[in-house]
């Protein structure tokens, strides 16, 4: 079993994807192992909630297993999976935005220096942005995608993407202003 596991772990991704597409569960488990950190972080940045992010990621992988036979180009597994994750997120937002908007806003955000605290503050701040805005921000800052690529992936108009990124950045800066002050102090010293 371990030799077999090593075989999957060492195999190039297109080969592992091909095997998974033929119904090989071990190959798919390897794909989950390889891609889960990325998808879970993407979902966490979008949702601002680690538990919800894990649930969504699980849904994404289950959907990927159901549809992997339809994937024509095994080299595009990553972007195919990302598209699926974005769709999952948009679907959830469509259901939940009305509820969340009614909850009102919270104020957060301290200025911490360790990675965990920055991540948590970022998650809290992101959770206060409307769905499509937070998605555009995550794709722009976390995934390093251009506005054109975001528009293509999400199906939003380019102008809308630009406006979401601008609006979201502005709001995030306000929410994370404590970090701005910390940076200014660091720069001064």
């Amino acid at each position: 079993m371990s030799a077999r596991t090593n075989y999957y772990a060492e195999g190039p991704e297109p080969l592992v994807v091909s095997l998974a597409a033929k119904g090989d569960r071990n190959a798919f488990a390897e794909l989950v192992r390889r891609r889960q950190a990325w998808i879970r972080t993407l979902m966490r940045r979008c949702s601002g909630d680690a538990a919800l992010a894990d649930d969504l990621s699980q849904q994404v992988f289950m959907q990927a297993w159901r549809k992997i036979r339809q994937l024509k180009d095994v080299d595009k597994f990553g972007s195919w999976l990302k598209q699926m994750a974005i769709n999952e997120w948009l679907q959830l937002k469509r259901k939940n935005d009305a509820l969340r908007d009614a909850e009102g806003e919270q104020s957060v955000i301290g200025s911490q220096s360790d990675k965990t605290s920055i991540g948590m503050d970022l998650d809290n701040a992101m959770a206060q942005l409307p769905g499509p805005v937070s998605l555009c921000i995550v794709l722009s800052y976390h995934e390093r995608m251009t506005h054109n690529e975001i528009a293509e992936l999400t199906g939003l108009k380019l102008g809308t993407v630009k406006s979401h990124v601008l609006r979201g950045s502005k709001r995030l800066r306000e929410l994370l202003s404590a970090y701005d002050e910390t940076q200014e102090i660091e720069d001064a010293s």
Binding site: Q36, A37, H147
Partner: protein, 115 residues
């Protein structure tokens, strides 16, 4: 606006902690996939079982109903003594023929009204 990013947010996103690979998560996903597969198999077995049960329960009444319906539809409207004449006029001289002509008439009427 170009694709420029805010430097502060850029650095925060870069510094924020990312999720790590977690074998438990992989196991959870694979377990859910297995559960779903079992549910699908159970569902299919259930449907096949249900079809068999329906076949067993309803085959006799259904066959009877079909027989009665066939007899009723082929019943002659006007009794004809000659066997070959009765066979030749059967498509018209039967309840089925009457229903057919009624439907044809309604269809023609509908087309005229629509035009």
């Amino acid at each position: 606006m170009s694709d420029e990013r805010d430097p502060l947010l850029d650095s925060l996103f870069a510094e924020a902690e990312n999720e790590q690979t977690d074998d438990e998560f992989t196991a959870k996903v694979m377990l859910s996939i297995e559960k779903r597969r079992r549910n699908i198999i159970t569902g299919r077995i259930g449907i096949v079982g249900l079809l068999f049960a329906l076949e067993f329960l309803l085959s006799a009444p259904l066959q009877n109903s079909v027989g009665v319906l066939a007899n009723t539809l082929s019943m002659s409207l006007i009794p004809i003594q000659s066997e070959w004449l009765a066979a030749a006029f059967a498509p018209l001289n039967s309840i089925a023929g009457l229903i057919g002509m009624l439907l044809l008439g309604l269809h023609t009427l509908h087309r005229r009204m629509v035009r």
